[in-house]
């Protein structure tokens, strides 16, 4: 007469499950299916089955391979810098103790700002001629000319410049996670090490970082996934330019789809991108993170 707990739980999960199936799984299925066709960008246009042709085109195209490497480089730059800065801030907040609580909250505010606004803001700071950073460096006597460094116009450095807003936005997140982890390190342990005469670097590299390992893993995985999907900040700053030097995978797929009107090729690129992301993420989740294991 009464339904079993198991079934009850299933009923509770069904609406969300159905939603994800219809609006995530099905579009993904469409994406993979489209990748085997040559599709006219016009609505109702012809669809010709071409097998793996789109994949061959993707892997042989310079734009695709370039975007892949750039996405990897971008992700590494963002995650490394965020980790270093976030850990620094978390240690600073921890060593200052409870009195820094207000500032901890203030430090979180960039997390609320839209990426598009952050990208715009940094573009405004770095842009040639009236960008403030070049001017300030010039006034400080570091640069001879405010435009000496073309932050967003020099293809050699633009990939680093477009990463700045991303780092500015989410170092707070890294700091928040690492700070929470630091609070769980037993104080006795640190004091014992101090009494044994351990200096700050030893304390950091031999005790704190090894104890933080699981937290660090989670933070790096979460941020790595987000950084590899970056779109908003780059689009608004450079739109992938100059000379595609800041064109990451999301941007390339978007442009292939919208600008070059080749949904088939874009779908193949999207499928490869998705598989690569899932592969890395699954590996990370299964080996380092293991959600639910500690609950």
């Amino acid at each position: 007469m009464r339904i079993s707990d198991r079934r009850f739980a299933l009923y509770l999960m069904a609406p969300a499950g159905l939603f994800l199936a219809v609006f995530v799984a099905y579009p993904l299925f469409r994406l993979v299916a489209d990748s085997f066709f040559k599709i006219s960008p016009m609505a109702g246009g012809p669809r010709d089955f071409v097998g793996l042709d789109n994949y061959v085109r993707a892997f042989t195209s310079e734009a695709f391979m370039g975007a892949g490497w750039r996405t990897l480089a971008y992700t590494l730059v963002v995650v490394t810098l965020e980790f270093a800065l976030g850990l620094g801030m978390a240690l600073l907040f921890t060593t200052l103790g409870r009195k820094s609580e207000v500032w901890r909250t203030v430090f979180l505010y960039p997390l609320m700002i839209a990426p598009i606004v952050a990208g715009l803001l940094w573009k405004f700071l770095m842009i040639d001629n009236f960008g403030l950073i070049g001017t300030l460096l010039h006034q400080a006597g570091i640069l001879q000319n405010p435009n000496q460094i073309g932050w967003l116009s020099n293809p050699d450095i633009v990939l680093f410049s477009v990463a700045v807003p991303d780092i500015w936005l989410t170092t707070s997140f890294m700091c928040l996670v690492l700070f929470a982890g630091l609070q769980n390190i037993p104080g006795d342990l640190i004091e014992a090490a101090r009494l044994d005469g351990a200096k700050a670097p030893t304390l950091l590299f031999r005790i704190i970082l090894p104890l933080l390992r699981p937290v660090i893993a989670v933070a790096l995985v979460v941020r790595g996934i987000d950084a590899a999907r970056a779109f908003d900040t780059i689009l608004i700053q450079t739109n992938g330019g100059p000379q595609s030097a800041s064109e990451t995978m999301s941007l390339l797929i978007y442009r292939t789809m919208i600008r070059f009107g080749d949904p088939g090729l874009a779908s193949a690129m999207g499928t490869i991108y998705l598989l690569a992301m899932l592969g890395v993420a699954f590996f990370a989740v299964a080996t380092i993170w293991r959600p639910g294991k500690d609950n």
Binding site: D5, Y11, L12, M13, P15, A16, G17, F19, F23, V24, Y26, P27, L28, R30, L31, T94, T95, L96, G97, R98, S100, W103, Y109, M112, I113, A114, I116, V117, L120, L121, W122, F124, L125, N129, F130, L132, W168, F173, L176, V177, Q183, N184, I185, P186, G187, I190, E191, R194, A228, M249, S250, M257, A266, Y273, L274, M277, A281, P291, G292, N295
Partner: protein
């Protein structure tokens, strides 16, 4: 974000508050999970602590000179970190010509609201605010209605299907939006929902739902099972126990989840770019369009960006206590 929110529910960080009331109590007891022997532990270590009071507890810096140095460092970091946004605010009050003056100045030479009147007076800008709010509200509600029962089913009954489900939700978080954006847009067009806030809020829910399920699961995890068992014994149905007993207890957690779902939608750009045209355009798209449609109108762009960011910052600051309350909820159990 999910991790950051789930961590405090482990009971660690909140103990620090009580430690602060007892001056002799070593502060690091705050990181020991709240338990009955915490109180007994205090007197024994207190003597120790008094002898080297100036010394650090745990990782806290002890020496006054070190602390001063660290405060200076923090002040410098905060100034550097806040500066870009402050510069955006200052710029928005400049005259449109001064906005792109060479060389630029930090403070406006002349304070004016001209950029604001220009930006808000442009056609479609105010409508885009309404669209953004509408989309974010629908998406938040949808997210909560779906995530709350699902998370409860996952955490309370621990069935294999629940474990599969939370993993699936996690995997969803890894899907690049650009990969599902186009198929999703064409699905919406087929359903006759093209260029509507409903379609966009459904798309945004694909982002916020996995996050909400994850967050709500950790909040439900913190609710003692006895609570609803007592309610069921008293004759409540399982659904009744969820609605009348459990939901009120996790209301703080629901508020936190709602804030994150709202923010995810309010700030989202890619889906909005792919799925909206004129009618349902949200403000991030309008901000981006300033760049192409109207040349480079930096003044209006900064003003609009400021107007769009400030409500969210204020909202978060206002509800901050609620967020803290929600996050500490887990520590109250037992």
């Amino acid at each position: 974000m999910s991790i950051a929110e789930t961590r405090p529910t482990g009971g660690g960080t909140t103990g620090g508050n009580s430690a602060g009331e007892l001056p002799h109590r070593p502060r690091h007891t705050g990181v020991v999970p709240a338990g009955p022997n915490n109180g007994q532990e205090a007197p024994t270590t207190a003597g120790n602590n008094r002898r080297r009071r100036h010394h650090a507890e745990g990782l806290e810096a002890g020496k006054r000179s070190t602390r001063t140095l660290l405060w200076i460092l923090l002040a410098a970091a905060m100034v550097l970190y806040a500066f870009p946004f402050l510069y955006l605010l200052f710029t928005s009050f400049k005259t449109p010509i001064d906005t792109i003056a060479v060389p630029p100045t930090i403070l406006p030479r002349e304070w004016t609201l001209e950029n604001y009147t220009n930006a808000l007076g442009r056609s479609g800008v105010l409508a885009s605010f309404i669209n953004s709010a509408q989309t974010a509200i629908i998406s938040t509600l949808l997210s909560l209605v779906l995530a709350v029962p699902a998370a409860y089913g996952i955490t309370r009954y621990k069935t294999p299907s629940g474990r599969v489900f939370i993993m699936a939700a996690l995997v969803t978080r890894m899907v690049p939006p650009v990969a599902i954006g186009i198929p999703l847009a064409s699905m919406m067009a087929t359903a006759g929902l093209a260029d509507t806030p409903i379609a966009l809020s459904i798309a945004h829910t694909t982002i916020s739902l996995p996050l909400s399920i994850w967050l709500m699961s950790s909040f439900f995890e913190a609710v003692p099972q006895d609570l609803e068992e007592a309610a069921t014994v008293d004759g409540c149905s399982r659904l009744g126990a969820l609605w009348r007993v459990v939901i009120p207890v996790v209301s703080g957690g629901i508020a936190v989840t709602a804030i994150f779902a709202f923010l995810a939608s309010w700030n989202e750009f890619l889906f909005a770019l792919l799925m909206t045209a004129i009618r349902s355009q949200t403000t991030p798209v309008v901000i981006a369009n300033f760049q192409t449609q109207f040349g480079l109108d930096w003044g209006s762009m900064t003003a609009l960006a400021a107007v769009y960011s400030i409500p969210v910052i204020l909202l978060t600051l206002l509800l901050q206590r609620k967020i803290v309350a929600g996050m500490t909820l887990g520590a109250v159990k037992g």
